[in-house]
Symmetry: C2
Subunit: 100 residues, 2 copies
DNA sequence: CTGATATTCAGCTGTTTTGCTGAATATTCA
DNA sequence: TGAATATTCAGCAAAACAGCTGAATATCAG
């Protein structure tokens, strides 16, 4: 494979679309959204059949893409949706629906 | 890795978001769009530094995701954007911006 | 037909992703 | 303090992906 300059932040779209490419991650976002915008890691992990460690990593991917942020509250972590970031993709797609 | 039921078409979102996850593929879509909606494979491949075979595969990914379609015209292939499909993702994202 | 042009197909390799399991860390409760 | 709870970290294996090269296919021009 060709050189890949350290996955620069420059390409936010890459991170965001990749994050959204996985069904589990889309499901996480929808679940959090319909839960009012935030959920604990445990609640999220409970929705899936696979190991919670796997979900943990999905959450990290989503967070790295900027689609989620988290905050500790006691011994649990609350994840929250970052709409701003979703807006970015939404705007990108918008290109294709503008009448030029 | 766990079983994976043959990448069913059921999940169109998977295909579409994965396709959009790669910068080259997003660039292809934008280029075609700003070129009026269609372009030949050659014109598209010419935009990239990498081997045209690589671009061919990107085009196939985009087509498999339903984001492009093609038509032969003589010895060249004309690729065309499928807006309908992009609309699908746009609508998915729309969830997050609706006031409930 | 022959050669040039346009483009895809097939197979190889290195990298990334995804899921798993086995710890580790942090916080609360008794 | 010690046990229970909530969650992440680390490392492994299988699969998927992106790039490459070499060959094949199809069409056009002469």
């Amino acid at each position: 494979m060709a050189k890949r300059e350290s996955k620069t932040k420059l390409d936010s779209y890459e991170a965001i679309f990749s994050a959204l490419a996985h069904a589990a991650r889309r499901r996480v976002l929808l679940a959090i959204y319909f839960n009012g915008g935030s959920m604990t890691a445990g609640e999220i992990a409970a929705m899936f059949a696979h190991a919670w460690q796997t979900t943990t990593r999905h959450l990290q991917v989503l967070e790295a893409a900027g689609l989620l942020s988290h905050e500790r509250q006691g011994r649990m972590r609350i994840y929250r949706i970052e709409q701003k970031r979703l807006k970015l993709v939404n705007d990108w797609l918008g290109h294709f629906f503008k009448k030029p």
